[in-house]
């Protein structure tokens, strides 16, 4: 099937999570993404469990690396060496977009800033993803994605109502959000270039990417001087609204009633029509006030039931409800299966695993991972030989001098996070 970005080529020079996400989104959409990676792949055991396999190449079996880099072409290249930098610039000349997410100082030191890249290709689109931006008081602050969640207000606003402490949303929320926004922005810049021939520099700071998601809370602070507080699983006006324990271990059903009608339907489905007439619950304002009592009534029903069965009963009655699925259950859910959300990707050293895809299906085009993450050094001949036209002896000379590497040189710091 056709993919929307066929013919687009991207040079990715990233670490951590946000940059690789931007790269794999463009790769899923059909771009050829060349990932320039360090000539070491770190010490893989540090980043988490390894998939069993060939004992001499553990670095090819890091699940997180392989998830974040599916669909890419890999080139281990030491850009700090003059020959490495030269190759980077020659690759830039063949690409439409360069993605990077190092700290502002790092690229300065390597002389690989926008102005340098523009000399190699005048209409290049460069997307930079610093944590806080290339200007401002926090320019040189270090942070990973979760640290940005703290500074956007998101951690303060997320939490249990009674815990009195901030909470963190998921694992790498900030990075996935910023990666998607960077991919979108790069495509918008590509649109402009197709019409005008003009390239440009894009700064997609992680913090800036996240602030829109708390936009209403920032306006409450502006309008009303309020710092905001976590609502837990409650809603500003819907009631009931929360998760309720079901039969089994750590099994929960989410229920939300956006209207009186939905609440009446819920009471019917629970076999408790009298609750809909109860003065504590009959109208929204009273119901909102008496949520703790109402939650008890609902939980008494859900506790006796399997979460999926409870969802079916409530949804048939027109009540918004769904089980809280976990990472394993997602693979077995009928809706995820019917839509083909997880795409099986075969990795030669890791086997076949279903990889989470983008959240949409086109009617005609495809937008799914096409190949596994690159094994270390796998694409040296393709990138240096086929794309750049280097002779075999030249490639061998680069290998023996350590500018490129077919095997990780030094076990260093972890590369995935």
């Amino acid at each position: 099937m056709e993919k929307p970005l066929e013919g687009v080529r991207v040079l990715e020079f990233t670490n951590a999570v946000a940059g690789p996400v931007a790269g794999f989104v463009l790769a899923d959409l059909g771009a050829e993404v060349i990932k320039v990676e360090p000539t070491h792949r770190g010490s893989p055991a540090v980043v988490g469990p390894l998939v069993p396999g060939a004992p001499d190449r553990p670095y090819n079996r890091v699940p997180m690396f392989n998830e974040l880099n599916r669909g890419k072409v890999g080139l281990p290249l030491d850009v700090a060496r003059p020959e490495g930098r030269e190759l980077f610039l020659r690759l830039t000349a063949l690409c439409d977009i360069v993605l990077e997410n190092f700290s502002p100082r790092a690229l300065e030191g390597l002389h690989l800033e926008y102005e340098d890249l523009r000399q190699a290709r005048p209409d290049i689109i460069v997307v930079s993803m610093p944590a806080f931006g290339r200007t401002g008081a926090y320019r040189d602050r270090r942070s990973y994605g979760p640290g940005v969640d703290a500074m956007s207000g998101l951690c303060h606003l997320t939490g249990y109502r009674d815990a009195g402490r901030p909470m963190k949303p998921g694992n790498f929320f900030c990075d996935y959000n910023a990666g998607l926004l960077a991919a979108f922005s790069a495509m918008a810049a590509l649109w402009h270039r197709r019409l005008t021939g003009e390239g440009q520099f894009l700064e997609c700071a992680l913090l800036d990417s996240e602030l829109p998601l708390v936009g209403d809370a920032l306006l409450d602070a502006f309008f009303n001087g309020r710092p905001g507080a976590p609502l837990g699983n409650r809603h500003p006006w819907m009631a009931p609204h929360g998760v309720y324990p079901c039969r089994g271990e750590d099994a929960w059903l989410a229920i939300a009633c956006p209207s009186d009608a939905a609440f009446q339907a819920l009471c019917q489905a629970l076999g408790r029509p009298e609750l809909a007439r109860d003065p504590r619950f009959r109208i929204l304002t009273e119901r909102y006030r008496h949520q703790d009592e109402l939650d008890e009534e609902i939980a008494a029903w859900t506790r006796e039931r399997d979460a999926y069965e409870a969802m079916r009963l409530l949804q048939e009655a027109g009540v918004p409800a769904a089980p809280v699925l976990d990472a394993g259950q997602l693979h077995r859910d009928p809706q995820y299966a019917a839509r083909g959300y997880f795409v099986p990707v075969h990795h030669p050293e890791m086997g076949t695993a279903p990889v989470p895809g983008l959240a949409f299906r086109y009617q005609e085009m495809a937008a799914t991972p096409a190949r596994p993450a690159p094994r270390f050094g796998e694409h040296i001949d393709y990138v240096l030989g086929d794309l750049l036209g280097l002779a075999r002896e030249e490639i061998e000379a680069l290998e023996s001098s350590g500018v490129v590497a077919r095997q990780p040189r030094l076990p260093g710091a972890p590369s995935a996070v």
């Binding site: 929307p4 970005l5 540090v46 980043v47 988490g48 699940p63 997180m64 974040l68 806080f132 931006g133 401002g136 008081a137 990973y144 640290g147 703290a150 500074m151 956007s152 909470m167 963190k168 998921g170 694992n171 790498f172 929320f173 998607l180 495509m187 390239g199 520099f201 997609c204 990417s209 998601l213 708390v214 936009g215 920032l218 306006l219 409450d220 502006f222 837990g232 699983n233 929360g242 324990p245 929960w252 949804q315 918004p320 769904a322 809280v324 699925l325 976990d326 997602l330 809706q335 019917a338 695993a353 279903p354 989470p356 983008l358 949409f360 009617q363 005609e364 085009m365 937008a367 996070v417």
Partner: protein, 401 residues
């Protein structure tokens, strides 16, 4: 200066955050986004927050935030006359985003299949909570319910408590962003293919996407990683630590190791145990003890002091800020960068709103205000579609616009 999508025409029929955020992203990039609201107004006009807690359809914070730099018309798209006008607007549009429930989309001929068939050059994104096909296509959704199904709640919250919904509309925002990605890629492909395409976007899947690795780990290892408080999940015992939120004298900080130099934590806290080989070998395995030593160091420091000292040592610590503190901007970071802009609105007055989430050097992000209810009816229906004025009056009298 114009944005990169200057000249593109986008139609937005949104009733949730998802469709509106997709439209906002396209408008920010300079597309001419026309928001089609029902005559009584977008439901988000009722959402708030409102200045002084006085509800007013032109002063809803969420609406003002999501609809900057768009134009707006009102149209009862359920009526035959409204449908006809919507069809004429669609003929002139490059792209459409809508987030109508599947039943309503069917009634209006706006399902992905119908749109594809009837508007061959249109690029569209149709957003629903669970996707417009599959066994749950007709199920009722909300933000909470979509987040539950997505798996995201299973990785948010304390391990010994109920799963937790993150603040606000994270899943709907992500669906809007995914829709914008789908539309943008579809537009880029349109010239080469000579055809548009329609993306069927699922809010639940957009939140699953945010989870990253855990579903893959669950498949590979048969082990399900779940919520872990404020610590990362899925990391082995040997992964550097901390990555967590810890209390200090006046609030909380996000404490993170320097993953390339995990021993720097010992230098910060002045505690050699933290740099001892058995700790550095397996920092995550020592997380509780590391927290305790860190807490002792943090106890007498403000979050600002603690972060400054840590950052001086290249340790990625940050302050946990509330929205008021984000606005106050103690170190002037946002002031220097123009993160916030003052937007003048004829009814809501001067509103401090977010500026560019992405800074583009040649074609800047577009700021602007949200449209008033029906503000561009005359401009669009008479000026652009060529409707005689008396017809617009008639449509207004019958409640269609």
């Amino acid at each position: 200066m114009a944005g990169p999508l200057n000249g593109l025409r986008v139609l937005e029929v949104a009733t949730t955050v998802a469709g509106a955020y997709c439209g906002r992203l396209l408008a920010g990039m300079g597309a001419d986004v026309l928001k089609v609201e029902p005559p009584e107004g977008d439901p988000l006009r009722r959402y708030g927050p409102f200045p002084g807690d006085v509800p007013h359809p032109e002063k809803s914070g969420l609406f003002l935030h999501l609809n900057q730099a768009k134009r707006g018309v009102t149209l009862e798209v359920g009526s035959p006359s409204g449908r006809d006008l919507l069809g004429r607007l669609l003929e002139r549009a490059d792209a459409l985003v809508h987030d109508l429930p599947p039943q309503r989309a069917e009634a209006l001929g706006l399902t992905p299949e119908e749109l594809r068939r009837r508007h061959p050059r249109l690029v569209a994104a149709v957003v629903t909570y669970f996707g417009s096909r599959g066994p749950y296509a007709r199920y009722q959704g909300t933000e909470l319910v979509a987040e539950a199904l997505s798996g995201y709640m299973s990785i948010t919250g304390e391990p010994d408590r109920e799963p937790l919904k993150p603040h606000g509309f994270l899943a709907e925002y992500q669906a809007g962003l995914q829709a914008a990605v789908a539309v943008m890629a579809g537009l880029l492909a349109r010239e080469a293919r000579g055809a548009g395409d329609v993306a069927d976007v699922s809010v639940a899947e957009a939140a699953t996407f945010l989870m990253g690795g855990p579903p893959v780990l669950a498949y590979l290892f048969g082990q399900v990683w779940k919520r872990n408080g404020t610590r990362l999940i899925g990391m082995g015992d040997r992964h550097p630590y901390p990555s967590t939120l810890r209390p200090c004298r006046d609030g909380w900080v996000h404490a993170h190791s320097n993953n390339r130099h995990p021993d720097l934590l010992a230098a910060l806290v002045g505690d050699p145990w933290l740099a001892s080989p058995q700790v550095l070998e397996a920092m995550t395995a020592h997380a509780d003890e590391i927290d305790a030593r860190l807490d002792a160091w943090l106890a007498d420091k403000s979050k600002w002091e603690a972060v400054e000292l840590a950052q001086e040592l290249r340790l990625p610590f940050t302050e946990v800020l509330d929205p008021l503190e984000v606005l106050e901007d103690r170190h002037g970071h946002h002031r220097t960068r123009g993160t916030f802009v003052e937007v003048e609105h004829p009814v809501a007055g001067r509103v401090r709103q977010l500026g560019a989430p992405v800074k583009l050097s040649a074609t800047p992000w577009q700021v602007g205000r949200a449209p008033l209810l029906g503000e561009h009816n005359e401009q669009v229906f008479c000026g652009e579609l060529g409707l005689p004025r008396e017809e617009l009056v008639r449509l207004r009298q019958t409640g269609i616009v």
